[in-house]
């Protein structure tokens, strides 16, 4: 049975066309992928289907009956649930309150049935194997746990249609595995699932079929029943071009480069850095000038803490940090920035950008805050600087007057980069910079990174996605429970080795134990 069918859906936002001709069909008991670049209209489509937005035109059928979805409440009555990309959780409320939010059951006298709600929340969290107390407040849990709660919230609705919008963006591979297990179970029970993701290998792995959007139109479909499960087939659908070869350099070239760098000295050295409560223990490493150093491992093992210390956010560490060979106690963020250390945060909407300000002012904030000397700001020079930065990051459209919140996610991330390029930092700290960013922009971001490294900027990259570490890093340190447990260099950086090292079980050379991708492609 076709549970959901959309034909020629159109939608515009104040003159910007988000969807021009979206077509989509979903059958009961299937997982259908929805892929496309940032700004291709995936999320808009999902929001229309789930009743959060009204389409301008087109036809929508649910359970083979035409509908006019006016509000989310109606979507709920049709037993449809959506996992939101921008979380729909209230931070001050507990997990169970959030899971029940909007559909609280009431007992006699219209009083709330709290015990039932707690039980239901516990059951939902169990299906995706999450082991946190449902009485915890959402503000106290980590981003990946929030994402899981969001999924739990959708599952608790016992939906017949489930829309997952970038559900894995902040999850590590164990959590992705449990999610996929839950998805397969739901599928068995006849639930129809729309899976929206930028992680193409995940789409290839879990979906039965996929539909691709480009510029607000449905441009193609792949049915894995007849076609090979291969990401390479998906990429041309998204970009409209043939697959570009990976930017990764040959090993000879790489070795020569590294040898050249070792003469240039260290931009940053850490000696026995520890943080109380075992959050970091005896972390020591050196970052060469122009080197791209990766931090890998499972999520939340201390990678972010390392970045936060270096950016001057976290104080109270012990051990020594040297910048350009000189010991230095980082006082605060301002101090770190003055030393040429810039952090590109993981949550761009919260920590990286002023969403309601223009591209221009966003790019110039660090520059302005570091301004010294003249009383008035040199506006002309700053404007030139900003357009230079916009060029470097190839922002689309290259208009400095645009308000950042109007840009797509990928372009927002480019603005975050542009912001720090203006200061020409010595050390760039990256906290999962391509989270929720499409293939094209991702490539773009890493071209920027390798360009900077060539010019002598040192990069410390934390990525939750192993592939990014493989493609970009000269060396990778695996962090496990606050310690660096392994260093992997050059050609040895492979998916398999990263996964094995992340779990901190030494079986190098053997097959990875059930985690990560297993789609047979050689890394």
């Amino acid at each position: 049975m076709t549970v959901l069918e959309a034909k020629h859906i159109r939608k515009s936002f104040v003159g910007v066309r988000a969807l021009s001709d979206a077509n989509f069909a979903l059958r009961a008991g299937e997982v259908c992928g929805l892929v496309g670049a940032n700004g291709s209209g995936k999320t808009t489509f999902a929001r229309i289907v789930s009743g959060l937005l009204m389409p301008d035109g087109g036809e929508l059928r649910l359970y083979e009956k035409p509908v006019n979805l006016r509000s989310h409440l109606d979507a709920e009555r049709s037993r449809m649930a959506m996992v939101h990309q921008n979380l729909s959780l209230v931070p001050e409320m507990t997990i169970w309150e959030n899971i029940a939010l909007g559909r609280e059951k009431t007992g006699s006298l219209a009083l709330l049935d709290n015990r039932g709600a707690v039980a239901q929340a516990e059951k939902a969290m169990e299906t995706i194997s999450v082991k946190i107390s449902v009485h915890e407040r959402v503000k106290n849990i980590s981003p990946d746990e929030k994402q899981l709660v969001e999924i739990g919230k959708a599952l608790a609705k016992d939906p017949r249609i489930l829309i997952l919008d970038e559900p894995t963006a902040s999850l590590d591979f164990h959590q992705v595995e449990s999610l996929f297990r839950a998805v397969r179970e739901l599928k068995e029970r006849g639930v129809a699932i729309v899976f929206i993701s930028h992680r193409l290998w995940e789409v290839a792995k879990i979906c039965d079929r996929l539909v691709a959007f480009r510029n607000g139109e449905t441009v193609g479909e792949l049915d894995f029943a007849v076609q090979e499960r291969n990401e390479k087939l998906i990429i041309p659908l998204i970009t409209g071009q043939e697959v570009r070869e990976k930017v990764r350099k040959g090993s000879a070239e790489r070795e020569k480069e590294i040898a050249g760098r070792s003469e240039r000295g260290f931009a940053l050295e850490l000696r026995g850095v520890s943080l109380d409560g075992g959050r970091l223990t005896d972390v020591s490493f050196s970052l060469r000038r122009g080197e791209v150093l990766g931090l890998g491992g499972l999520q939340g093992q201390g990678q972010e803490e390392i970045l936060m210390i270096l950016a001057g956010y976290l104080k109270g560490y012990s051990g020594e940090i040297r910048v350009n060979g000189k010991p230095l106690a980082l006082r605060n963020t301002r101090h770190a920035i003055r030393q040429g250390i810039a952090l590109i945060p993981g949550d761009r909407q919260k920590e990286g950008l002023f969403l309601e300000h223009s591209v221009l002012s966003n790019i110039l904030y660090p520059k302005v805050s570091m301004h010294r000397g003249t009383f008035f700001l040199p506006r002309g020079r700053y404007q030139k600087l900003a357009s230079g930065a916009i060029d470097t990051v190839s922002l689309v459209p290259p208009n400095p007057r645009l308000i950042v919140s109007q840009l797509s996610g990928g372009n927002q991330q480019k603005v975050v980069f542009g912001k720090w390029l203006a200061l020409s930092p010595n050390v760039l700290l990256l906290n999962d910079p391509t989270k929720g960013v499409d293939v094209g922009t991702r490539q773009n971001v890493y071209e920027i990174i390798s360009g900077l490294a060539e010019k002598g900027t040192s990069v410390l990259l934390y990525a939750s996605d192993n592939e990014e570490l493989i493609d970009n890093c000269d060396r990778v340190f695996i962090v496990f429970e606050g310690r660096i447990v392994k260093e992997i260099c050059g050609d040895e950086i492979t998916e398999e080795r990263l996964v094995v090292a992340s779990l901190n079980v030494e079986h190098s050379g053997e097959k990875s134990p059930g985690a990560g991708r297993q789609d047979g492609r050689s890394p």
């Binding site: 959060l52 989310h72 209230v90 931070p91 001050e92 909007g102 559909r103 009083l111 107390s133």
Partner: protein, 321 residues
């Protein structure tokens, strides 16, 4: 496991610092106010505390939903004026005018609520505008304080029932029962959700405008009770009688741990905040501070109270960053 959670919940509770403050002020007040623990003083104190606590609850409700009500004081004034200008000596008139006063308070609150919910002006400006409207209307009806409140009516407020229950305390108990009931109602949970994150609330299928209107309605109930107390206390209609309540209620709510950004805090805190403010006024009065300094001292003590509330947050920030 559960006991641990309860203890941590208590310490993390947003009204915990204000509770400490309350204990401190009670001690201070007991020292300087003669016979603080006697029944007479208790009864007298609650005659002034009750309206303060009620407006604190009213303000807390709208702050929780992410708004604020600057028209609260003017609303109370208007209700007293309307009641004093209409009330006759007959019992029927007293009952009818009381009901009318309650209806008026609810109408004024809902007027704010409908505008803020459906049209969406900033609550600060919206309620400032309505506050001058209510004040203007009250002045029009009664340019100078006056009107008639029968003795039989206002005497009730000073009475003690069954020899141990002063009427103001009874009113307070009714309000507390109302609070307890609210805590178990769906719309009240939604009020926290809307105040905590409007976007998340909307995505969860909550009727955001309706929830805001609900908050103003609840607030109106408390304002109505407060207005009745003020009538009982002053026995006149006065277009300025409610003036002081507006910002006192905001201060009380914030001191009681209600986050000004919305979605955080609880009624226990609001009640504590109201009592703190009442004790404050008492202390300043009994400490024989010259009237010139009274207002100044009140401000200083409010700031101290706010610092108390900031301690857990400051401690957390200093340890992490």
């Amino acid at each position: 496991m559960k006991a641990h959670r309860v203890v941590r919940g208590l310490l993390q509770n947003s009204s915990f610092p204000s509770f400490l403050m309350l204990v401190l002020l009670i001690i201070l007040n007991a020292i300087i106010q003669p016979g603080f623990f006697s029944f007479q003083v208790f009864r007298m104190n609650f005659m002034t505390f009750t309206p303060l606590i009620l407006v604190s609850l009213a303000q807390a409700t709208v702050i929780l939903v992410g708004a604020v009500d600057l028209s609260l004081g003017a609303g109370i004034s208007l209700v007293t004026v309307v009641m004093a200008s209409l009330m006759q000596d007959s019992t029927l008139s007293m009952v009818l005018v009381t009901l009318l006063g309650v209806a008026a308070a609810l109408f004024l609150s809902l007027f704010n609520g409908f505008f803020i919910g459906y049209i969406g002006p900033p609550p600060l400006i919206m309620t400032f505008a309505t506050s001058t409207m209510w004040f203007g209307t009250a002045l029009l009806i009664m340019p100078t304080p006056g009107g008639h409140i029968p003795q039989a009516y206002y005497m009730v407020y000073g009475k003690t029932l069954a020899g141990f229950l002063p009427v103001p305390v009874l009113i307070l108990l009714v309000a507390v029962a109302f609070c307890l009931l609210l805590g178990r109602i769906k719309a009240f949970r939604h009020l926290y959700a809307v105040g905590g994150s409007e976007r998340a609330a909307r995505a969860s299928g909550i009727n955001v405008a309706g929830t805001k209107i609900f908050a103003f309605f609840v607030s109106g109930v408390f304002i109505a009770l407060a207005a009745l107390c003020v009538v009982g206390q002053t026995a006149t209609g006065d277009a300025r009688s409610g003036q002081g309540f507006t910002l006192n209620s905001v201060a009380a709510a914030v001191i009681g741990g209600i986050a000004f950004s919305g979605g955080k805090g609880n009624y226990v805190g609001a009640i504590i905040g109201g009592i703190i403010l009442g004790l404050l006024i008492n202390i300043i009065y009994f400490a024989n501070i010259t009237s010139f300094y009274q207002e100044f001292m009140k401000g200083v003590i409010i700031i101290v109270a706010l610092l108390f509330g900031a301690v857990p947050r400051l401690r957390r920030e200093l340890s992490h960053h």
